[in-house]
Subunit: 135 residues, 4 copies
């Protein structure tokens, strides 16, 4: 489990050197990631920007999927639906909790709830689909 | 709790006399509904049609919302996103399990997992938003 | 063109004998369908139900896709997002105008604008994806 | 028209000083924006990242909306659905063409087609909704 988590974290660092995501856990069709928020993520009013939230959710889905199918660099997002629910806290890390609902041969689908660290209610909810290349 | 469930079921029967949905439970921002599948719901190959699944999910959201805000006939669906995950079983009832993620003053948002009765994996997943009229 | 339209209309009649959709035109990655609204399609207040609108959009996408790839009965909807924009008129037919944006080897995607006949502004907008079986 | 375009461009520059979006045109419920792609926008393989595309679409919707309702800083995105259609070209600017389908009192909804400059087929399609604060 930890080996897998570390391998995925290493892979993300190589593929996306500028990414600041931390892989907290992965396994059993789920993943949990977090990202500290810096000024480039903020919008006027001190809230976290929508694209930052979308990017974190996208990585959460990717990590959960790599946990199921192994490290497959060519899996790509095919769709993503985000609903913004509450204003994120500016000074808090964002947590993304992903649960895959389907991992088929060519398509995977999952949902992600996004939280400001330490808060109980989600700030946004994402549903996304990934296309899995033939092996 | 049961009073509320019965009041909602009665309201649905009056508003949608042709509906065949059964309200199984409601409360705590959640609802569970079921519908026996008849031939008008089937598609070639014996599967349950997409519009039937969407209709069940829409009612599940509505029931969960009425459970929170009381019987407000003018709440209307503003958006609905469905992902079809697996072929539903033809002879089985469809179960819809809704969980609301936000109930704001003017907008509510929730997700619904749809199952063929007795099966563990969902056949479809829905995210929907409702507009709540000013009171 | 007309031959293709007629072949698709015949196919729909055979596959979905209870469907009331009329194929108005098909070709060039587009399709236009219409459906007269009857009492089973109405909701309280005289408006057309959401599931009826979703069903019409789903068929519009299917017809446009069959116009591109030929009559492939196993193409299935994988996702559908609907936004409800305006109250449909009760006594008017619903028109669905579909435009496909991608027809790939395994996945197609398109959008549908839904109108009450004779009105300029859409009552709803749909984005949908179809999975195309390997040939 | 040009005055309005310039006022919106100025407002964006003040609100989002780090943004690199250019407002090409706005009016008649539509907007066209563009963004040169730099290395921070790229993913392995030389393609433009999903979050970059989502961010451009989000701004295109915002610009079109400001063109209709005037400069209202508190309008916020409530939902966004993106479908990725084709691999964007790495060296090309991304163009976002937005068309609003509804501008209500509290909610607006529109679609955006995203293109790699000079190419005819869209690389992605977005549907988004905005919440408009009471005035």
């Amino acid at each position: 489990m930890t080996d897998r988590k570390d391998a995925i974290a290493r892979f993300l660092k190589e593929e996306f050197p500028q990414a600041r995501i931390v892989v907290e856990s992965v396994g059993d069709r789920c993943a949990r990631v977090s990202q500290a928020v810096d000024t480039s993520d903020l919008r006027p009013g001190g809230t976290v920007s929508g694209p930052t939230l979308m990017a974190i959710a996208d990585v959460a889905l990717y990590v959960a999927l790599l946990g199921e199918i192994g490290i497959v660099p060519l899996a790509v997002t095919t769709s993503l639906t985000i609903n913004f629910l509450r204003k994120p806290a500016a000074g808090k890390s964002v947590i993304g909790e992903c649960r895959l609902m389907k991992v088929g041969k060519t398509l995977a689908m999952g949902e992600v709830s996004l939280y400001s660290e330490g808060q109980e209610e989600p700030v946004a909810h994402v549903v996304g689909t990934y296309s899995i290349p033939p092996r």
